[in-house]
């Protein structure tokens, strides 16, 4: 009988290790282990333990999910932001392509006027996706690009506007202020816009993703998350921690560098991939 108990402890440590190495974070992992060890007395083996964990994680992910609001007015404006190199520009290309394939008219506003060749990069994606692009050129005012993008979209009867912004670390106050300015410019041109503020996170990022989500949310109000690079070996477990603390829905996952490599977030698939 004592033997069985010992196995359980090793097993629990193994499971905790699995959670932590999935980037779920030590606090959230401990909390999850606490919840299932309450049920552990009724559980007879590792498979049941895993299923219990999956259920707990699913309940966290489901609690923070919410359907995309269809408000029917045109254009629907999506502002895309996040730290450097996470995949914002590529994700915009993918989103634009899927909307065009659904028969929508898409316009992209090239509001990253800072990074070398950011506009050239976005132009290639717009071309591949079949979307229009509005740009003012490097070192111009990003808020003005966003504003003009919305204006052009309204005039042309565009369905969807995607606003690309420069990568920025969430700790840089002046860059966060610039982001607020871009948002204000969008709202000025179209009062309910931006309708979606999409934070892009890299699945290989560890606990810092929580800090990113917190500060971007505080600054500008994030309405959805896109998690990229899930085609690697990282599990992206940090989104579980984010969902349990902040209730921001995970909308999309990026699973590669090609234009079709975007999927709607499926909590069940995600949780199964964790184990």
């Amino acid at each position: 009988f004592t033997g069985k108990r010992e196995i359980n402890n090793d097993l629990l440590e193994e499971l905790e290790e699995h959670l932590i190495t999935s980037d779920i974070g030590v606090q959230t992992s401990m909390e999850l282990m606490r919840r299932i060890s309450k049920k552990a007395s009724k559980i007879s083996g590792i498979e049941q333990l895993k299923e219990a964990l999956k259920e707990e994680i699913l309940s966290i992910l489901d609690a923070s999910s919410s359907p995309v609001e269809e408000h029917g007015t045109k254009p629907h404006v999506i502002m895309v932001l996040g730290v450097n190199g996470v995949g914002k520009t590529t994700t915009i290309g993918k989103l634009a392509a899927r909307s065009v394939l659904e028969g929508k008219k898409v316009l992209i506003a090239a509001a990253d006027t800072f990074r070398a060749a950011a506009i050239d990069q976005l132009r290639i994606w717009a071309d591949r996706a079949g979307a229009e692009i509005v740009t003012h050129g490097e070192r111009t005012d990003p808020a003005a690009v966003a504003y003009d993008g919305i204006e052009a979209a309204i005039a042309r009867g565009t369905d969807i506007v995607l606003v690309d912004t420069a990568g920025r670390l969430h700790t840089k106050v002046n860059l966060m202020e610039e982001l607020k300015k871009i948002k204000r410019a969008i709202s000025k041109k179209l009062p309910d816009a931006p309708h979606e503020i999409l934070l892009v996170l890299d699945a290989t990022t560890g606990q810092n993703a929580l800090s990113q989500a917190k500060l971007f949310h505080e600054a500008i109000g994030v309405t959805g998350i896109a998690l990229t690079k899930l085609d690697g070996t990282a599990k992206g477990g940090i989104v579980i921690s984010i969902c349990s603390h902040m209730k921001i829905p995970l909308r999309y996952i990026g699973i590669g560098e090609k234009i079709e490599d975007l999927q709607d977030f499926d909590p069940t698939q995600f949780v199964n991939a964790l184990f």
């Binding site: 932590i20 450097n84 060749a117 840089k172 890299d202 990022t205 606990q207 810092n208 690079k229 070996t233």
Partner: protein, 292 residues
Amino acid sequence: NLSDKLNSVFKKLKGHGKLTEKNIEEGLREVRMALLEADVHYAVVKKFINDIKQRALGQEVMASLTPGQQIIKIVNDELTKLMGSRHEDLSLSGPLPISIMLVGLQGSGKTTTAGKLSIFLKKTGRKPYLVPVDVYRPAAIDQLRKLGDQLSVPVFPSNPEMDPVRICREARIAAQKEGCDTLLLDTAGRLHIDEALMAELCRIRDEMQPSDILLVADAMTGQDAVNIAKSFDSALDIGGVILTKMDGDARGGAAISIKTITDKPIKFIGVGEKLNDLESFHPDRMSSRILG
């Protein structure tokens, strides 16, 4: 922060007797949490804590330090030692023109770092030559060319139809003609599990025989850092690491994971988006950042 937590754990122990197994356990539990929250890999933490415990056991509590401070001192010392106790330079030996190869995952900062390294090389009196080897990412070649123009550093006129190995070979000839002595090979970001693309890196390395191969890794990388480092190192035998985006608030525990797995030095850190934002790596500063 960790100091406060350790001090409260050891409050009752002030200044008398040895560090016992029990109070070390409690203190190290806090250190373990701090390291995991800092993104150090689970297995790396486990081994590290065990090593610390052996060292801490039976030590006399120093008169000048609280037991909490003493544990921190031991941890700090061990971490600093682990990360390499001295600064390591770029390897620049070999017949001219030499090559420095930049490799890593998508978006880690390779292209920007290539620009930064060219400034660094110029400052040391060398003549860098930038080589765009990324034929996949839209406008990657334009990106490096624009950086080269900003810095007045020559850039090989790659085009996306060329084979990456051929680009490198022709760039070496072109660099020689321009009187440049150091090629910076900016390769495409890739997954360490992409066999074809990892093989491409090996072909580039075999062709160019680089003096240094640097893994450019993001400071905010989580537990996956061990997988990434292990794969790139076993494929290429890297010379060192550049940790980018250190100007954020990521604790950077990936540095410990990478160093433990590869035993290769972190040579530089990226501290911003501007081309001047490259600094040499200081192990002691990194340790206290990771411990929080």
